[in-house]
């Protein structure tokens, strides 16, 4: 007789056993996702380790677990938890992100490119490696792009790493990176941002909905920091990149009927223009000593500095169009939502203040004398 088989032995408690390389890889992953001390994480990314042929099942499980939980947690904390209204099938849908969208439409799915990147980042000294790694942007999923955006953000404190990563197509074409730090991705005089159409539908649009508060905060921080920029060329470069990116994004959002995804642009301007603002808010740091000789170049840099307020022109046009939509028109519900957003942000006053700030830069429209240093007196914008 044999004794009947007992219940299966439970797995022992305690940490799962992985190799040193796998441990490092999980630490790098957690660092990139913001759940591991940055100094130690950066050390691991800058260090080399012998790469095994593959990961053990335990390590793979840990990677999956970290990616799934940390990315979702990030999106929820970023703004997914907010009870807000966004468009779904051209109709406003309210609630938190998980109330607005069924799970299959908001599920994050990561491709093998993320694991390949983690293996590369753990095995190589990223800042000086000759080993090539890159991922074709067309093959990246929404979750991949979110991850690479978070990864770039985590490495931002290290200039060497940023210099390497920004050359990779996976980062260079990352739409979220373009939306948060366009000047870091281009060296061109005429920046060419990628097409944002993909980000105005499906899971990517859900991610963008969640990220609205983060995007607003980033743009606000960037706008407030412009007053400290003393380099005219840098200001022009940054402003041009921002203008091109925002214009491309607003075009894509409008074409996709997802004007609600551009809420962060309106919110940024709304916070900036609670009161009248003179152009000096953006340009007072520009050093008179290092100013370009030509007035045309100085004006170009000063105009570029106000790339964000300039977008209010486009948003005002959207508002005018929304006002003209009738009750029986297809886009009535969407236009109502836009008008509510506009009114909540005090859009008319914000647009007027933004237009006044933009006009005050212009020597022929400001009614102010053109000072030789390229600095103009404060205008009195219409409220």
């Amino acid at each position: 007789m044999t004794r009947p088989a007992g219940p299966p032995t439970p797995a022992p408690d305690g940490p799962k056993a992985v190799s040193r390389f796998e441990y490092n890889l999980v630490c790098v992953l957690r660092f990139l996702l913001g759940h591991f001390p940055a100094d130690r994480g950066l050390q691991l990314v800058r260090a080399a380790a012998a790469r095994p042929p593959c990961l053990s099942a335990t390590a793979a499980d840990l990677v999956k677990d970290s990616l799934a939980k940390a990315c979702v947690l990030f999106l929820v904390r970023a703004g997914g938890w907010r009870d807000e209204r966004f468009l779904r099938d051209r109709q406003p849908a309210g609630g938190r992100a998980w109330d607005r969208w069924p799970s299959d439409e908001r599920a994050l799915s990561f491709s093998g490119h993320v694991v390949e990147f983690l293996l590369w980042a753990t095995a190589e000294r990223v800042h000086e490696t000759g080993a090539s790694w890159d991922a074709p942007p067309a093959e990246l999923t929404a979750a991949d792009e979110l991850f690479f955006w978070l990864a770039f953000d985590a490495c931002r404190a290290d200039g060497d790493l940023v210099a390497v990563l920004r050359r990779k197509a996976a980062f260079r074409q990352n739409r979220l990176l373009w939306l948060t730090a366009p000047a870091e991705l281009t060296d061109d005089e005429e920046p060419a941002p990628p097409d944002f159409a993909l980000w105005c539908a499906g899971t990517r649009a859900v991610v963008l909905e969640c990220l609205q508060p983060v995007l607003t905060a980033r743009w606000l921080r960037s706008e407030r920091a412009k007053g400290q920029v003393g380099d005219w060329r840098r200001m022009r470069h940054q402003g041009r990149a921002e203008a091109a990116t925002l214009a491309a994004f607003l075009d894509a959002a409008h074409a996709a009927g997802r004007t609600d995804l551009a809420r962060f642009v309106l919110q940024t301007n709304s916070v900036l223009f609670r009161t009248d603002l003179a152009p000096d808010f953006w340009t007072e740091g520009l050093a008179a000593g290092g100013s370009p000789g030509r007035l045309a170049d100085r004006l170009d840099a000063r105009r570029a500095a106000l790339a964000v307020p300039r977008q209010m022109d486009t948003l005002s046009n959207w508002q005018a169009a929304a006002r003209g939509v009738g009750y029986f028109d297809d886009d009535y519900a969407a236009s109502q939502l836009w008008k509510q957003t506009w009114e909540a942000a005090d859009g008319d006053a914000v647009a007027a203040r933004a237009a006044a700030a933009v006009a005050a830069i212009d020597p022929l429209r400001s009614g102010q004398p053109v000072a030789g240093s390229g600095q103009q007196a404060d205008p009195t914008p219409a409220g």
Binding site: G293, R294, L295, L299, A359, P363, L364, G367, V370, A371
Partner: protein, 190 residues
């Protein structure tokens, strides 16, 4: 026996330097009438102020090296200043060599020639910057002068457009304008 020798080279050059600066902006003209009618009003007003129509439809007024160009269709105004100058520069340099330890005369002459060329380039660059600064200064001064005129043109075109619009709406019975405040009152019978 070592013998020293000295060579003196002189280079002179004359260059025609040009510098320019310009700014462009768009006039804020309200669309009271259809765009083509607004463009006509703007064109007429500018012609009355000495602007000349060009084959491409733009209106230009020149004052020496300064020019103001207006595209009445788009309202784009470009104010440009240019400066030109013919500048002569001369540079001279001495160098000493030794017949036994060198450098030999040919090599020394080439080296000094290069140095002279660099010096001349530097001087021309300084002249170019001065010329550029002069053009920019003139542009800035001109902008201050032209600002009131631009405002006047915009106001005049707006007033004319309002009058025309009123005529289209009915019979104008009274028009009163206050030059000081800029108020325009039009009474009409519809």
């Amino acid at each position: 026996m070592s013998r020293a020798y000295r060579i003196t080279l002189k280079e002179s050059e004359t260059r025609r330097l040009t510098a320019g600066d310009e700014i462009s902006t768009r006039l804020e003209i309200l669309e009271i009438l259809p765009p083509e009618d607004m463009a006509t009003l703007l064109r007429n007003e500018l012609k009355g102020r000495g602007f000349e129509e060009q084959p491409d439809g733009t209106l230009v007024r020149k004052d020496g090296d300064l020019s103001v160009t207006v595209d009445p269709c788009t309202g784009e105004v470009t104010v440009a200043a240019g400066a030109e100058a013919t500048v002569s520069q001369e540079a001279r340099r001495d160098a000493t060599g030794f017949n036994d330890i060198g450098p030999n005369e040919g090599a020394m002459r080439d080296r000094v020639k290069d140095q002279l060329k660099q010096e001349l380039d530097k001087r021309f660059e300084a002249e170019q910057q001065k010329l550029q600064a002069r053009a920019t200064e003139r542009l800035e001064k001109h902008l201050n002068d032209i600002q009131p005129e631009v405002s006047e043109v915009v106001n005049k075109v707006t007033r004319d457009a309002l009058k025309e619009k009123a005529r289209q709406m009915g019979t104008v019975t009274e028009i009163s304008e206050d030059e000081e405040t800029g108020n325009l009152t039009i009474k009409l019978e519809v």
